[in-house]
């Protein structure tokens, strides 16, 4: 028995070592960094332990801007992309002709490189000496005024950012939801049909509860993913996100570590922990809500 236990731990050892070095140690390190006040990266010295780093980060206008950007992004894109994905999946599962073609079309963004997609969005939205961007051409066609989406007003930039995020996350959600819809036993629908259940009621009382575990999965991962947004912003607005006013929390952390203003690991650690706390809170709330509403199926 005892030998068996030792053997089991031996088998686990390689994984545990790697986890300890690359997961546990950095986590603890982040905690330590975040508490060390006036840490100097070059001389490896600090003046004391306390909450000064957090106070600095929370009062830094760049961080507050990043926080605001991230929250707007999360609140707009998660419900919008999930809802859109649900609509498209419902459409896809109710058509027969050309279904595979549409499935492929909707899935294409998933296999496309983020930066390549960013380039396409530049063409769509960016003003250059030669053109106003495709979207502006359309706006003008309908008698509107051209807007600078990349270097223009905040709302326009935010719109592009949200549009881009929704477009990028849609395919995966559609993929998950179409398979979730397909896995609902058709007998439920047949039973509902014999009982004369209206379509809307079938959707709200049967389909939605049946796919709710998958919906909650998408919402939770969607929240986490949106909170971690960074590369999308870079692809659209370049690396100097603070200047563009389009920074995100992860972007702020990156800038603190390596950016022009880099070399402040303590501030980065504090910001990372704040992000962690936010994501944790939202995820816990999500889990509680989903447990209360998710179906109790076998």
């Amino acid at each position: 028995m005892k030998f068996d236990k030792i053997k089991a731990w031996l088998y686990l050892l390689p994984a545990l070592v790697f986890l300890a070095i690359f997961m546990v140690y950095p986590l603890i390190d982040v905690l330590i960094y975040s508490a060390e006040e006036n840490y100097n990266f070059a001389s490896q010295t600090f003046t004391g332990i306390g909450s000064e780093n957090f106070l600095f980060v929370l009062s830094d206008p760049y961080f507050l801007q990043a926080l605001k950007n991230t929250f707007i992004l999360v609140i707009i894109t998660v419900p919008l992309s999930t809802g859109l994905a649900l609509l498209i999946s419902l459409g896809l599962s109710s058509i027969k002709t050309l279904r595979h073609l549409f499935q492929t079309v909707y899935f294409l963004p998933y296999v496309t490189n983020t930066l390549a997609v960013g380039l396409v969005f530049m063409i769509l939205f960016k003003k250059t000496p030669y053109s106003d961007g495709l979207v502006n051409v359309l706006i003008k066609l309908f008698g509107g005024e051209a807007v600078d989406f990349i270097d223009g007003p905040y709302a326009a930039k935010m719109f592009v950012m949200c549009f881009y995020t929704v477009w990028v996350v849609l395919p995966f959600k559609i993929l998950v939801l179409t398979s979730a819809l397909a896995s609902v036993n058709t007998d439920y629908y047949r039973a509902a049909k014999v009982d004369g259940t209206p379509k809307w009621r079938i959707f709200t009382r049967i389909t939605l509860p049946m796919i709710s575990p998958m919906l909650f999965y998408l919402i939770i991962t969607g929240f986490i993913g949106a909170f971690k947004a960074y590369s999308d912003a870079v692809a659209l607005f370049g690396t100097n996100l603070n200047e563009a006013g389009m920074n995100t929390i992860v972007g702020y952390i990156y800038d603190m570590l390596y950016g022009d203003s880099g070399g402040y690991p303590s501030y980065a650690a504090a910001a990372a922990l704040i992000l962690f706390a936010i994501v944790l809170t939202i995820t816990v709330i999500n889990l509680i809500v989903s447990k209360k509403t998710a179906i109790n199926a076998k």
Binding site: D187, A191, G196, I295, A297
Partner: protein, 371 residues
């Protein structure tokens, strides 16, 4: 409510792209299901019996033909307007709803003039729950119940909206053997109490025979025979019906009629008068054979299986085309079993079929099969 089917046909496109011919699931159904009876739609898997049920329910639309409920033509009516209650093979209970919510579900679909008040709904739910004896389980979820209980809930849900016709698709196939026996009695009782015209689909002949007022035997989309279970068993129209009904199954032999006498191999079974000469297929029910020294059918004993009240004698005969010859005899008679034994044949349990078409050949036995 009687159900009348007139020339009902359902064709499906073949999955096989090369096949030009469509698959015939139901072919030219022309019969009447009398009011208030329990009808068993019986046949091997893939014979189209579930399709037939779906046509009656309205879940499938027929390619040709008409369906009447009473005098009303319901062929083009959507399922919800036909007033059918349906129970599915896997029960199709909504897993996220309690039993009470499941049974209430159809009632909530009623539109304006027929809309029920909360009290009326509760009363209906309670009534059907009492009928199927699940009134203690109303707050449970389907996953917290046994298969038999789920089955009852499914029946209750189908009955709650007070349908004119109750349809059951393989209602017992997901239950274990003991529950199946119990539940089929239950279905019989519920049908009697409600007096609903009930059609149920099954591939289990014993199930169909035991509780049906009338059985419809199907094969490859075609009705083979319709009648009371005992009549169909005693008087099958063809070889398929004869072999499909009865456990153990009927013994089938290659035989021939020569000069007004029926032979199996070299054994003369009986003088028969049927106006046919040459090869025939002979079917003898297991209970139509008894061991006797003055018997007519020579066989080699294989084994004797004791089944309690009766004994099953398994024997070999070179002209047998079914799997093994079985005779169900009394235990006294089984004591006569010896390596080379002869069976006496009861003419009432002996059927002749055309060797090619399998159609029944009527005959009268002249010398009543020797004792």
């Amino acid at each position: 409510m009687k159900i009348v089917l007139k020339g009902l046909t359902k064709l499906f496109k073949s999955r096989n792209k090369d096949a030009k011919e469509p698959v015939v699931a139901v072919k030219n159904f022309d019969f009447e299901i009398p009011d208030g009876k329990l009808i068993g739609l019986l046949g091997p898997s893939g014979c189209g019996k579930s399709t037939a049920l779906n046509l009656i329910s309205g879940l499938e639309t027929p390619t040709e033909g008409k369906i009447f409920f009473g005098d009303e033509d319901v062929t083009d009516l959507q399922p919800e307007f036909r007033g059918v209650g349906m129970v599915f093979q896997n029960y199709a209970l909504y897993p996220h709803l309690t039993v009470r919510q499941n049974i209430t579900f159809p009632l909530e679909n009623f539109k304006k003039p027929n809309k029920l008040t909360k009290e009326q709904k509760e009363e209906r739910v309670l009534n059907v729950a009492k009928l199927v004896e699940i009134e203690d389980l109303l707050e449970r979820k389907p996953s917290e119940m046994s298969g038999g209980q789920q089955q009852r809930v499914a029946i209750a849900r189908a009955l709650a909206k007070q349908p004119k016709v109750l349809l059951l698709d393989e209602p017992l196939s997901n239950l274990d053997a003991r529950l199946r026996l119990q539940t089929r009695e239950e279905i019989r009782r519920i049908q009697r109490e409600t007096g609903l015209t009930t059609v149920f689909v099954t591939h289990d002949q014993e199930e169909a025979m035991s509780i049906s007022d009338m059985i419809i035997v199907m094969k490859k989309g075609e009705v083979q025979q319709i009648g009371a279970p005992q009549d169909v068993y005693d008087d099958p129209t063809n070889l398929f019906v004869a072999t499909f009904l009865g456990t153990p199954p009927i013994n089938v032999f290659d035989g021939r009629i020569d000069g007004g006498a029926l032979y199996i191999g070299s054994d003369k079974i009986s003088d028969v008068d049927c106006g046919v000469q040459g090869k025939v297929t002979v079917g003898i029910r297991p209970e139509g054979l008894t061991i006797s020294d003055e018997g007519v059918l020579n066989c080699a004993l294989k084994s004797v299986e004791v089944m309690g009240r009766d004994t099953s004698v398994v024997a070999l005969n070179e002209n047998l085309t079914s799997q093994a010859l079985r005779a169900i005899v009394s235990s006294e008679n089984a004591r006569l079993a010896k390596p080379d034994l002869t069976f006496k044949v009861n003419a009432d349990k002996l059927f002749l079929f055309d060797a090619e078409s399998g159609l029944r050949i009527p005959f009268s036995a002249k010398d009543a099969c020797k004792g």
